[in-house]
Symmetry: C2
Subunit: 268 residues, 2 copies
């Protein structure tokens, strides 16, 4: 394993030892910024896999293809590294990031925002919710680190959780809630607390992702086989029927008499 000692003494020849087959090719010497960024990326992966407490600096160093001391040259403590991850995940792709090139994907809420705002402008409710759901689920699927990191940090009580929450969730509630409120004012949606609607919808979507990435990982054993597109469509259909205003003159559908007998014996 590439192990370090490797005696470079073995002739200065470029014969690079295979670089540990890590995600990080790491090869040789790097500029500080590069190395720093690489370490952050590796750490994100490991923290998301095993949590902050569950990941050792040794593992991070090994996965990055450097010695442990390098980690501590770039980050004074393990907590510092975690803090750097916050910055990284919170600002990557926004251009405002001290490191992290723009090729990185934008943070959660920004990724979600664009298609949804476009649909809002058109007043297309179905598209608003469907694209929101779809973008969220795709994001979760493509970047499973995100959900795991989020859950770990919440459980471990790291402030990362709070920052994520304020930067992502609150923003979502604000701007989707505002849209719903507006549609209510326009008479399109019935009178429900918009925040309850957001919670119900975002809950269904997020929970779906969470289940697929944490519990029901094996697609073969999955309770619910469904593509992201189908899920987005169905969740949206249910929600929209659930919140559109009743057509004038038509009574609300609830409280119907149960014509259909529900036989009690049934399964068990």
């Amino acid at each position: 394993m590439s192990r370090a000692t490797t005696r470079d003494g073995a002739s200065g020849a470029a014969a690079q030892p295979p670089p540990a087959a890590q995600a990080a090719p790491a090869g040789g010497r790097m500029a500080a910024d590069e190395r720093r960024l690489q370490i952050v990326r590796v750490a994100v992966r490991l923290f998301s896999e095993r949590g902050f407490r569950g990941t050792t600096t040794k593992e991070i160093a090994h996965a990055a293809g450097v010695s442990e001391a390098i980690i501590f040259r770039h980050f004074a403590t393990k907590d510092d590294l975690y803090a750097a991850i916050i910055d990284y995940k919170a600002c990557a792709g926004t251009g405002a990031c001290p490191f992290a090139p723009e090729t990185e994907q934008p943070p959660f809420v920004e990724a979600v925002r664009r298609p949804v705002e476009e649909a809002m402008r058109r007043g297309d409710d179905r598209a608003v919710f469907e694209s929101l759901a779809l973008t969220m689920m795709q994001h979760h699927q493509e970047d499973p680190e995100f959900l795991r990191l989020l859950m770990y940090s919440a459980l471990e009580g790291h402030q990362l959780a709070q920052i994520f929450w304020d930067k992502n969730a609150r923003v979502l509630y604000d701007f989707l809630g505002a849209y719903i409120r507006e549609r209510q004012r326009g008479g399109a949606f019935r009178d429900v607390d918009p925040l309850v609607v957001v919670r119900a919808f975002a809950g269904a979507v997020t929970h779906h992702s969470l289940i697929n990435s944490l519990w029901d990982r094996d697609p073969a054993r999955r309770i619910l086989h469904i593509t992201n597109e189908e899920a987005a469509r169905e969740f949206t259909k249910i929600l929209l029927r659930g919140i559109v205003a009743d057509a004038p003159g038509v009574k609300p559908a609830r409280e119907r008499k149960r014509s259909a007998p529900v036989k009690k014996g049934k399964k068990k």
Copy 2:
């Protein structure tokens, strides 16, 4: 002699040293079963707070008011202790438990099941979903360890997660899904995949609990101030409107133009 401990000289007198003021009153000597159970309870609390990896056997021992060696007398390894917790949480209250008196609350799905089945028998859809939601949320609120333990075990990849999943989630999907399917056959619900409905509803409810117990803990800062009862009622209202069959002869309510001001006296 290591006797170290001192106090032998103190004659048989009961002069108990203050018992370390732990959550566990623990006081003095216990029968093996008692002690075992107490350790499990303490460990559940600590594991749910800091995860399996994040909790040391020393901490568990200290919190239980005994020395570390006692832990290892009752459980060969830390993993064994985790396994005991599985049994404990999976069977407490069912009577089938090797330890754990019946005073313990029943596991998740059993707690949820009773009121819901009763409502199913009456064919009262609203009560089915509302009591399901309410029971789930109350369970989450009263036993916050449950959710945390569940999340930690899923993230840490412990088999506890799989067992929980099979014993609770799958059962819920089966029996609520069956109910929905039956109501569809009776013409009460429209044609949606029942499992999608379960996921949407359970997702909204679970996510709500998860947020309240992990992120939005401070009620003052909470995005959504709402009692469990209100949440259950609102989620149910949205879902039911979303899945009831259209009244014959009435066109589906979706795709409406927004004209009607929504004021029709809201039901409630």
